[in-house]
C-alpha cells in the first residue's frame, strides 16, 4: 500500500498513450486508456449481470407466471404485492430464518475448523504439513455436486460406512430436519474449510517470527498467543475469509438441492436460494421467485456494506 502514490498518468507524453482511439483531441492524452481496458469487462457485466439484476427487480413487481411467459396474458404491475404475499407466507419466514441460522452455523464451524488447522499447520514439520495441505486441496477441489453425492453415500442408511461405524443401524440422515441439515453442514464445512485454512496459514506465515518468539518467551500459552498476538495481526485476513464464507454459505444451493433432493421432505430443508428456484421453475411463479432473489440480494448487500466499512476502518485504500 506504500506504492499507492498516484502515478502521474496524465503527464505522460502522447507517444506513450498507446493505440487508444479517440486520444487525439483531449488535452490529457491517455485519459481514455483505462476505459478502453475496462470496456470488455463492462460490456459483459452490463449485459449479463446488471441487466439481469434489473430484470429480476422488474419481474418481482409484476405478475409473471406461465401465462405471461407464453404471451397468453398481458403482464400487470403489482407494486409490492408479491413482497406482501411473500412476507405473509409463514413458509417463507421459516425458510428465511432457517437460511440465516444455517448459514451462521456453517460460517462459524468453517472458521473454527479452518483457523484451528491453520495454527496446527505452523506447529508441525514439513511432511505432515504437506499431507494435510494436499488432503485439504483435494476437498477444496471437489465439485459441489460430487462432494454432495459422496457425502450422501457415506451416510447412506443401507450401504454407508458411517452408520456402520457409529452403530446407527439404518438411521436415515435425510429423514429428519435437523439431521439432514447437520449432514449438509458437514459437507459444506468439509469443502470450505480449506480456503480458510490455506489463507489464514499464509497470513500467519507472514507474521514476523520475532513477535511470536517474544510472546512464547514471555510464557504466553498457545491460546493466548492466538488471541492476543495472531488474531489482531490477522484481522484483515480474518475479515476477508469471514465475509467470503458468509456470502458463499448464504447462497448455498447445490448441496441442499442434491443432498436433500430439492429441499427435503415437505420442504423442511429449504434455504432461500433453493426456495426461489423451486418457486420459479417448479411452480412457474416467476415473480415470487424473483422477489425472493431480491430479498437475498438486499441481505447480501447489507453484508457488503459492513465489509466495506470494516475495510475503510482498517485504512485500506480501494
Amino acid at each position: 500500500m506504500t506504492t499507492q502514490l498516484t502515478p502521474p498518468v496524465e503527464k505522460r507524453p502522447a507517444a506513450a498513450a498507446g493505440p487508444a482511439p479517440g486520444t487525439r483531441g483531449p488535452r490529457r492524452p491517455g485519459a481514455w486508456t483505462p476505459w478502453l481496458y475496462l470496456l470488455p469487462a463492462l460490456v459483459v457485466l452490463g449485459a449479463l449481470l446488471v441487466y439481469p439484476v434489473y430484470q429480476l427487480g422488474l419481474i418481482s413487481f409484476l405478475e409473471y407466471t406461465q401465462a405471461q411467459v407464453s404471451g397468453g396474458e398481458p403482464t400487470s404491475f403489482q407494486g409490492f404485492g408479491n413482497y406482501a404475499t411473500l412476507f405473509s407466507d409463514p413458509q417463507f419466514r421459516q425458510v428465511l430464518l432457517a437460511t440465516v441460522v444455517f448459514a451462521a452455523a456453517c460460517v462459524v464451524t468453517t472458521l473454527a475448523v479452518g483457523c484451528a488447522l491453520a495454527v496446527l499447520l505452523t506447529r508441525v514439520r514439513a511432511l505432515p504439513r504437506l499431507v494435510l495441505m494436499l488432503a485439504a486441496l483435494g476437498a477444496w477441489a471437489t465439485p459441489a455436486v460430487t462432494g454432495s453425492t459422496v457425502w450422501v453415500f457415506l451416510f447412506d442408511p443401507d450401504f454407508g460406512p458411517v452408520n456402520r461405524l457409529l452403530g446407527l443401524g439404518d438411521f436415515s440422515w435425510t429423514y429428519g430436519r435437523y439431521s439432514a441439515f447437520a449432514l449438509v453442514l458437514l459437507e459444506v464445512v468439509w469443502c470450505s474449510f480449506p480456503f480458510v485454512m490455506v489463507t489464514v496459514y499464509a497470513g500467519i506465515r507472514a507474521v514476523p517470527t520475532e513477535v511470536l518468539e517474544a510472546a512464547a518467551l514471555d510464557g504466553a500459552s498457545q491460546w493466548r498467543i492466538w488471541r492476543s498476538v495472531l488474531a489482531p495481526m490477522l484481522r484483515p485476513i480474518l475479515v476477508v475469509v469471514t465475509i467470503q464464507s458468509i456470502i458463499w454459505d448464504f447462497k448455498l444451493f447445490t448441496q441442499i438441492y442434491v443432498m436433500t433432493n430439492g429441499g427435503g421432505i415437505a420442504g423442511q430443508n429449504l434455504v432461500l436460494n433453493v426456495y426461489a428456484y423451486q418457486k420459479a421453475f417448479a411452480s412457474s411463479q416467476y415473480s415470487l421467485g424473483s422477489a425472493i432473489g431480491v430479498v437475498m440480494l438486499l441481505i447480501l448487500l447489507a453484508v457488503t456494506l459492513v465489509y466495506l466499512r470494516l475495510l475503510r476502518r482498517q485504512g485500506e485504500e480501494l
Binding site: 500500500m1 506504492t3 498516484t6 502515478p7 498518468v9 506513450a16 498507446g18 485519459a31 486508456t33 481496458y37 475496462l38 469487462a41 457485466l45 449485459a47 449479463l48 449481470l49 441487466y51 439481469p52 430484470q55 496446527l120 505452523t122 506447529r123 508441525v124 505432515p128 499431507v131 494435510l132 485439504a136 483435494g138 476437498a139 477441489a141 471437489t142 465439485p143 455436486v145 460430487t146 459422496v150 443401507d158 450401504f159 454407508g160 460406512p161 468439509w190 480449506p194 489463507t199 499464509a202 506465515r205 507474521v207 514476523p208 511470536l212 485476513i237 448464504f250 444451493f253 447445490t254 428456484y277 421453475f281 424473483s290 432473489g293 431480491v294 440480494l297 453484508v303 466495506l308 480501494l318
Partner: protein
C-alpha cells in the same frame, strides 16, 4: 518457512500436533478415498450392508457402465469446452480491467471497484429467471453459449478483485523504465505486465474453473431439449433413481468429474497458496 518453528527448541507437543494433523488429513481425504474405492468395487460389494474399507477384486465395471450407458464422453467434452473457454476469456478480460483500476487514476474508479465488490454478492442462482429469458432472446437456449456467457460474467468480479493485488505488486518503476526505453503502453501491458501477473491469473482461474465446472443449475435450466449439449453434473444426476440409486455408477461418475479439477489444483497448488496470501495481504 514456518513462522512458528523456533529453531533448536523441541516442543513436547509437536508429536501430538503432528498426530492431530495426520488425523485431520485422513478425515479430510476419507470421502475422496471412499468415492474412488466405491467406483472400483464390484457391484456386489457396493450393495453390501457391511461395507469394507478395501476391495480385493477391483473392477472397472462401474466406469464402463458410466461411459457406455450415456453419452458421457460427450458430456465430459462439453464441460471441458465450457470451462476452458470461461477460464481463458475471463482471465483476459479481468487482467485488462484489473490493470485499469490499479494502474490508473480516473473518475468513478472507486465507484467501479465497489460495484465489482457488490457484484460478487449477487446470488447467481436467483438470476436464473431473468437469465433464462435473456438467453431465449439471444437464441442461446440449448447451446453451450448459454453456459459460457453467464459464467464469464459471474467469474469476472471476483477475478478482477483478486487480480488487483497482483497487478499492484508490480512496481511502478518498472512501467516508467519501460516507457523510457520506448516501449508503448500496449507493449508494456502484454510483454512485461502480463508475464509478471501470470501466477495471479492462474490462481484466479482456479475459481472460475471450479464454479463453471460445478454448475448444474444453468445446465439444468438452459439446456432443456438438446441433451447432446448436456454437461457432466447433469449426467451424474441421471444415476439417481427414486428407489434404487446406482451408487457404483454415481461414484464412478463423480470420480471422473473430480479428477480434472484435482489435476488442475495440483498443477497450480503452489501458485494458489502464494497467490491467496498475496491477494489478501496487500
Amino acid at each position: 518457512m514456518s513462522a512458528l518453528r523456533t529453531p533448536g527448541v523441541r516442543r513436547p507437543g509437536r508429536l501430538a500436533a503432528e498426530a492431530a494433523a495426520l488425523l485431520a488429513a485422513a478425515a479430510t481425504a476419507f470421502p475422496l478415498y471412499w468415492m474412488v474405492l466405491s467406483a472400483l468395487k464390484p457391484a456386489g460389494e457396493i450393495q453390501s450392508t457391511n461395507p469394507r474399507p478395501w476391495t480385493l477384486s477391483p473392477s472397472l465395471d462401474s466406469f464402463r457402465r458410466v461411459f457406455e450407458q450415456q453419452d458421457f464422453g460427450r458430456y465430459f467434452l462439453n464441460s471441458l469446452i465450457v470451462a476452458v473457454t470461461v477460464v481463458l476469456a475471463s482471465a483476459l478480460i479481468a487482467f485488462l480491467a484489473a490493470t485499469a483500476v490499479t494502474r490508473f487514476r480516473f473518475r468513478f474508479r472507486t465507484t467501479l471497484l465497489i460495484m465489482f465488490l457488490v457484484a460478487q454478492m449477487v446470488p447467481v442462482e436467483a438470476l436464473t429467471i431473468p437469465m433464462f429469458f435473456l438467453m431465449r432472446d439471444f437464441g442461446q437456449l440449448n447451446t453451450l453459449g448459454s453456459l459460457i456467457l453467464p459464467h464469464i460474467a459471474f467469474s469476472l468480479p471476483f477475478a478482477i478483485w483478486m487480480l488487483r493485488g497482483f497487478v499492484r505488486a508490480v512496481p511502478e518503476a518498472l512501467e516508467e523504465q519501460a516507457q523510457i526505453d520506448g516501449a508503448s503502453r500496449t507493449r508494456f501491458l502484454w510483454q512485461i505486465l502480463f508475464p509478471l501477473v501470470f501466477p495471479g491469473l492462474v490462481a484466479t482461474s482456479v475459481f472460475s474453473f471450479i464454479s463453471t465446472w460445478n454448475d448444474f443449475l444453468f445446465a439444468k435450466s438452459f439446456l432443456i431439449s438438446d441433451t447432446s449439449q448436456s454437461t457432466l453434473p447433469m449426467a451424474l444426476l441421471v444415476f439417481f433413481k427414486p428407489d434404487e440409486n446406482d451408487w457404483g455408477g454415481i461414484m464412478a461418475g463423480s470420480t471422473v468429474m473430480t479428477v480434472p479439477v484435482l489435476v488442475f489444483f495440483v498443477l497450480v497448488q503452489r501458485r494458489l497458496v502464494s497467490g491467496l496470501g498475496g491477494a489478501v495481504k496487500d
